[in-house]
Amino acid sequence: MSEAAIRFEGVSKYYPLYHHMVRGFKSFLFNMPSAIREMRNSRFLALEGLSFEVKAGQSMGIIGKNGAGKSTILALIAGVMRPTRGRVEVAGRITSLLELGSGFHPDLTGKENIILNGVLLGLTRREVIKRMDGIIDFSGIEESIDQPVRTYSTGMQARLGFSIVAHMDPEILLIDEILSVGDIEFQGKCHRRILEFKEKGVTMVFVSHSMGSVRMVCDSAMWLDERTIRMIGEAEEVVSAYAGGA
């Protein structure tokens, strides 16, 4: 139980900057030597020397200003990016709660999107179909489930998105600022579901600007500031320090 599900050791992450190329093929071709030099040198330090671990079954909150590097940490955990320096070790099957509507296609119905999303998140069709009723029921939007998603309000999309994730079976769940969209009733439902996941022993990393949610859900918290860890420890303490004197 006390084994680390996620471990960062001296992790730094640089983003390469592709300005010159995004600016244009032509400018790249005509300034080839300097463009290549620029490509090597122009990079942006997003995280510097991070070391921490999250034990299996624990939840950690990440708080900090916009641009502090919170989403970058999640991307490193999910394995969609590699650290420039240091090591990232992850033990367990990862599920990410997608950004609002990002996995949805507006022209497909709610039901069709459930299947598409479920498969993209790692289930087979058969597994998704088996869970369909539960997902629809949880979302509380049965009446609109056969309508195209473009007719949904933001809150309804959030409901659908979370309901899908709520019916996956993650070992590690990554949540990046999303739960604040639904109405109070649905937020409560999400929190209860997250606590259920916790009870089942799911490891969670939870990025949020809602200090209340972090207090409620997380055991520990990390305050990220200027690409490094400003403070890490018990959720309650870190949140108070952050709220008090950021």
């Binding site: 592709y18 989403s71 969609v80 990410s96 950004e99 598409l116 498969v119 993209l120 990554l174």
Partner: protein
């Protein structure tokens, strides 16, 4: 970081992504299918008027002649052009999920492929108008040439989809490139009306043997094995080159978005 993914899941990914593309394209209506045929048919009409009526090229059954090349061509050019935005358009999926991203491209091409298959009845319709019929060569020839074409389209598309993240105006270059390639491929003309010295140039284009194989099947009811082999070898080369480009850039996709 590279996990083993069960075959069933890969199959389901392909199925769902293909279905999504088709649904979006046809907007869940049969009329949508007819609409999507209208574009190549209108194009054929323009070529018919320009080359047959006005310039009086000496090719018989000219409408049929164009359609037999244009439909397969569109399978290729639609795939490659659409692939440019395939990864960019799915940025947040790429940043958050770990399924193999090349499936997005294969889904796209499969949907184009199905659309092409659905347009074969139109070709048959025009055949019958001109008093011709499908032959047994179709049964062997079509599956083989379609396989070769899938490889070719997939290779180009994978390379374009990945590279476009790093060179954002590749998208426009691809549009220009496919337009030029169209005229370097024997679609609206036949090989025997162009001067001998240009044959080599045209046969250097991998799309030429592809279209010639299709035309052999549709127009003459014969499967030209030489053209097919030539296409297939090209297809394999293009596919593995495209996959290598994708493989090289795969690890950086998320940070380029």
């Amino acid at each position: 970081m590279i996990k083993k993914i069960p075959v069933e899941h890969i199959k389901d990914l392909l199925f769902e992504l293909t279905k999504k593309e088709l649904k979006v394209r046809y907007k869940n209506s049969y009329l949508g299918y007819l609409w999507s045929l209208l574009n190549p048919l209108a194009l054929s009409l323009v070529f018919y008027l320009a080359f047959k009526v006005i310039m009086k090229v000496a090719i018989e059954n000219y409408t049929l002649f164009i359609i037999a090349g244009l439909f397969p061509w569109q399978l290729f050019s639609n795939s490659v052009n659409a692939s440019a935005t395939c990864f960019i358009g799915n940025a947040s999926l790429i940043k958050k999920t770990t399924f193999p991203k090349e499936m997005l491209v294969y889904g796209l091409i499969s949907s184009e492929l199905i659309h092409f298959l659905l347009s074969i009845p139109v070709i048959v319709f025009f055949l019958i108008i001109y008093g011709k019929y499908p032959t047994p060569a179709w049964l062997l020839g079509l599956p083989l040439i379609i396989t070769a074409q899938f490889l070719m389209a997939a290779g180009f598309s994978l390379a374009v989809a990945s590279a476009n993240l790093f060179f954002r105006d590749l998208e426009r270059l691809v549009g220009i490139f496919t337009t030029l390639l169209f005229y370097l491929t024997p679609i609206i003309y036949s090989m025997d009306i162009i001067p001998k010295e240009y044959h080599r140039l045209i046969m250097m284009n991998p799309l030429s043997p592809l279209i010639l194989t299709y035309k052999g099947i549709f127009l003459e009811g014969v499967f030209d094995f030489r053209y097919f082999i030539y296409t297939f070898v090209w297809g394999v080369i293009v596919f593995f080159t495209g996959r290598a480009v994708y493989g090289k850039l795969n690890g950086q996709l998320a940070e380029a978005l």
